[in-house]
């Protein structure tokens, strides 16, 4: 479990034709099987960081190691591309990248690019469709005839089909309704439990609290916090300084504390945990 999947050492990135650095001196280790959330304002460097991890950008200084592939500012393009064998990247609104005539062809695009055999591709397409909970008969449908939520699931299946060891998601739930959001996060959890390292960029504090084991806060190109969700949400003032909000269960617990009601656990990360804490607190009272 403790094998580092990603190590990042003094990493910098500077977009061409700009004065400001998009990523400044990032240092980070992510272990195999972790679920890491990345939060921060728009333009804080979240996307730059995850793009570097997927080899889509080449660092301007420093080094990173992704599942054994070493990347420095002088690494050759071919080596950068070889990272795509290990890392899957679900972009924002991934349904916008669909292009093939059939769902099966679109999902097979990634595996085909990696040069897999046809049998292996067919098997991985079936498996990926099953994973995102779409019926097998969709394989022959056009991806453009599906609903928005289904299109997104096809797009995610296309990424999962390459069986990445590391899965990066950039705001995967943007624009989805409640049900679809929950389904998608459940899928991500499931993939994570099977051993895939997950890195998720999000703006939803509830998602950070409920799913992530670790959270990175980014601001102006710097990683300004690298901690557990519990510790992060414990410090409400610091959070406000990062202009981030508390997830609802923690916010409820904090305002209860402010009004003199102390829960045993001051940072319940899920609604269920909050309910348990409340039940415990109330039972305490009726027992007296």
């Amino acid at each position: 479990m403790a094998d580092p999947a990603i190590t990042i050492d003094g990493l910098h990135y500077h977009y061409p034709n700009t004065k400001k650095e998009a990523l400044i001196d990032a240092n980070l280790t992510i272990n195999q099987g972790e679920f890491v959330a990345v939060i921060g304002k728009t333009g804080s460097g979240k996307s730059t960081l995850v793009s570097l991890i997927d080899g889509l950008l080449q660092p301007t200084a420093g080094r990173l190691n992704v599942t054994g592939v070493e990347i420095t500012p002088t690494t050759k393009q071919a080596q950068l591309s070889s990272i795509h064998h290990h890392v899957g990247f679900v972009f924002q609104f991934p349904e916008q990248q669909l292009f093939a005539e059939t769902v099966a062809d679109d999902i097979a695009f990634g595996p085909r690019n990696l040069g897999w055999s046809e049998e292996k591709i067919t098997a991985s397409v079936d498996e990926a469709l099953q994973l995102v909970n779409l019926p097998q008969e969709f394989k022959t449908h056009s991806p453009f005839a599906l609903s928005g939520g289904q299109m997104r699931r096809v797009a995610i299946a296309g990424v999962l089909a390459t069986k990445p060891a590391i899965l990066i998601l950039d705001e995967p739930t943007a624009g989805l309704d409640n049900q679809a959001t929950n389904d998608l996060l459940k899928l991500v959890d499931q993939v994570n439990q099977q051993g895939t390292t997950v890195i998720m960029v999000t703006h939803q504090m509830e998602q950070v609290a409920e799913h992530a084991g670790r959270v990175l806060v980014m601001d102006h190109g710097k990683i300004i916090a690298n901690t557990t969700p519990k510790k992060l949400f414990n410090n409400g003032e610091q959070l406000a300084a990062f202009s981030l909000s508390l997830p609802i269960p923690v916010a409820v617990a904090h305002s209860l504390k402010h009004d003199g009601i102390h829960l045993q656990d001051n940072e319940p990360l899920t609604m269920a945990a909050l309910a348990d804490q409340l039940a415990m607190a109330m039972r305490g009272k009726t027992d007296e």
Binding site: N17, L56, H85, Q96, F99, N113, T162
Partner: protein, 267 residues
């Protein structure tokens, strides 16, 4: 897509040329392009190049940027010039091989073509660098006004033009995003022969088209919802105002024309 400097994109420097009325600048640019074809010798050519250099200087945009504007068209210019050198005839023959030959007239013609290419591209870059696309569209629609008399739907054409211009950066942005997404799925743009490379365009062009159609439909719905009527008389939020400086520009332009024709007569 990292290079954000696109051929002819607007660069705000607040120069005299930036403050000119877009109608004046459009007329100057069109007039200049016409004038280029009246150049018949070195002196007249130098005179036009000189007035163009003055415009570049007045635009307060670095010459390097104009050079970057020319670079993407370098191959087109080169191919045309090479064709001109090898496939036109007349005058002294210096070299011959099959249907190809290098002749005196061919060389002169290719030089003229090179001159016209460079001068016309630079002149239109001066226009686009100093004028926002939306202003160019406004200027064009003003110039098309008389066409309304012969039942040309000028308003619709103007609207189409400004919408098209408005979405160029959006589509550029989206192309970058889609390319990145397909690269993340293991696609390698810099590999394979020309046929595989053409195949590589499919996963980029199809999403681009699909998204553009979707966007067009959404835009049309949004416009209808806000009561857009293509046949209603239109007013403009941005009014074009003719200033004193525009009169001076008109005077200067006429001077360039007069001097060019005087030079034509005497040399």
């Amino acid at each position: 897509m990292n290079n954000k400097i696109v051929f002819g994109s607007y660069i705000p420097t607040n120069s005299v040329l930036h403050r000119l009325d877009p109608r004046m600048k459009l007329m100057m640019c069109i007039g200049f392009v016409v004038l280029v074809f009246f150049v018949n010798n070195l002196i007249t050519g130098a005179w036009l190049a000189l007035s163009l250099l003055l415009a570049i200087k007045l635009s307060k945009v670095s010459v390097k940027l104009y050079w970057q504007g020319l670079k993407p068209l370098f191959w087109i210019i080169l191919i045309t010039v090479v064709f001109q050198i090898f496939f036109s005839s007349g005058g002294t023959v210096y070299w011959r091989w099959g249907i190809m030959s290098v002749t005196h007239d061919g060389l002169i013609n290719s030089l003229i073509i090179l001159y016209r290419f460079v001068v016309i591209i630079v002149a239109s870059t001066v226009l686009t660098v100093t004028t926002q696309t939306i202003q160019i569209a406004d200027g064009l629609s003003w110039m098309m006004k008389p066409l309304a008399l012969i039942k040309v739907p000028v308003n619709q054409i103007t609207l189409m033009l400004s919408i098209a211009l408005r979405f160029v950066p959006t589509i550029m942005d989206e192309t970058g995003k889609i390319m990145k997404a397909q690269r993340a799925r293991g696609m390698n743009f810099n590999q394979g022969n020309i046929i595989t490379r053409v195949h590589h365009l499919v996963p980029i062009l199809i999403p681009l088209f699909v998204n553009s159609f979707k966007r067009a439909e959404e835009l049309a719905t949004a416009m209808e919802a806000r009561g857009y009527d293509p046949n209603a008389p239109r007013t403009h939020y941005r009014q074009l105002i003719w200033h004193q400086v525009d009169n001076w520009a008109a005077v200067w332009s006429s001077l360039v024309v007069v001097i060019l024709f005087i030079l034509r007569i005497f040399f």
